[in-house]
Symmetry: C2
Subunit: 188 residues, 2 copies
């Protein structure tokens, strides 16, 4: 008993995510979201809430799709070296393809929103923790003698996030490849 929704929730979330991913929170207007989703403002508010709620939904969608795909890859088949290589090569390919300047919504949110929105900060911290856990277990079996998985996985996360900043800055892709190769140096 009630009128059913006309839109596909997943498609709308995907569209919201892409806009915030590309433009950031402040530079995105409600009109951008209307254009991208095909829903009118009233429908967006009715179904999801205000702009900040839409951002949280976009962030959660990024987590459930893009970040989870990375984590699944890390937990899946293959050597540690292959996995780390894939992680950085994905950045290089995304940059070449012009996908949002090679940027990462998680990094963007960390810089733009985490300092001013505790819900974003909490979400971002949780995702980082999950990423590190997957990274840690992925490299555990490929450590050199007497090495430590926790600190190496931390370095790789830092280097990975840094590489996404460099990509957005328009730095040469060789820098990302060098970063990747340096991370591989400590893996057998």
């Amino acid at each position: 008993m009630s009128r059913p929704r006309e839109f596909d929730e997943e498609r709308v979330k995907e569209a919201l995510m892409k806009i915030f991913w590309q433009k950031g929170y402040e530079a995105t207007t409600m009109q951008d979201l209307v254009d991208a989703t095909g829903l009118l403002k009233g429908s967006l508010y009715g179904a999801f809430g205000d702009k900040q709620a839409l951002y949280m939904i976009a962030l959660a969608h990024y987590d459930h799709t893009r970040m989870q795909a990375g984590i699944d890859m890390l937990n899946g088949e293959g050597s540690a070296r292959e996995k780390i290589t894939r992680l950085f090569d994905a950045v290089i390919e995304a940059t070449k393809a012009g996908e949002f300047g090679g940027g990462c919504l998680l990094c963007n949110a960390s810089i733009e929103m985490a300092p001013v929105d505790s819900a974003v900060e909490s979400s971002v911290k949780t995702t980082i923790r999950r990423l590190q856990a997957a990274l840690r277990s992925a490299i555990e079996s490929a450590l050199k003698p007497a090495d430590d998985a926790t600190t190496l996985s931390t370095l790789i996360i830092s280097a990975y996030f840094g590489a996404r900043v460099l990509a957005k800055a328009g730095a040469p892709l060789q820098m990302i490849a060098d970063t990747r190769d340096r991370c591989l140096k400590d893996l057998v």
Copy 2:
């Protein structure tokens, strides 16, 4: 022959920089800049130009003060290990002190503005190149046998930028310390 300016240009630039550093470009309003500088809107426009010009001035000021201080430190006295340690410890101290969430205006600009403003992109790329050159020459004499200064300096830049993202995300400071220690591993 003409009325002299009433403000100290350096103090105004410092104030502009701090606001953009803290809030980013889009979230900063002209009123914020008026409040921070003590100049009225008309004076800001007359003396420096529009909001985007003010941002470029802030970026240049960050380069000439904060970035240059880091580069001078890298070019100065001390071992490579000491210099890299200082670099990361400055991030930890800034974060503890609550200075703009431990963030870096260069990283923020790379993510928020470089993809949509070619003047910012060009400025940011130049600064990154200068930083890498200083880093490269700082570590050159502390390399282990058969190692390479270019790729290691690239890794350190990536790790450093990544650490500043982690700081803004509110990640544990231990992660920054671990990143630092991992970067030191390849230095004698």
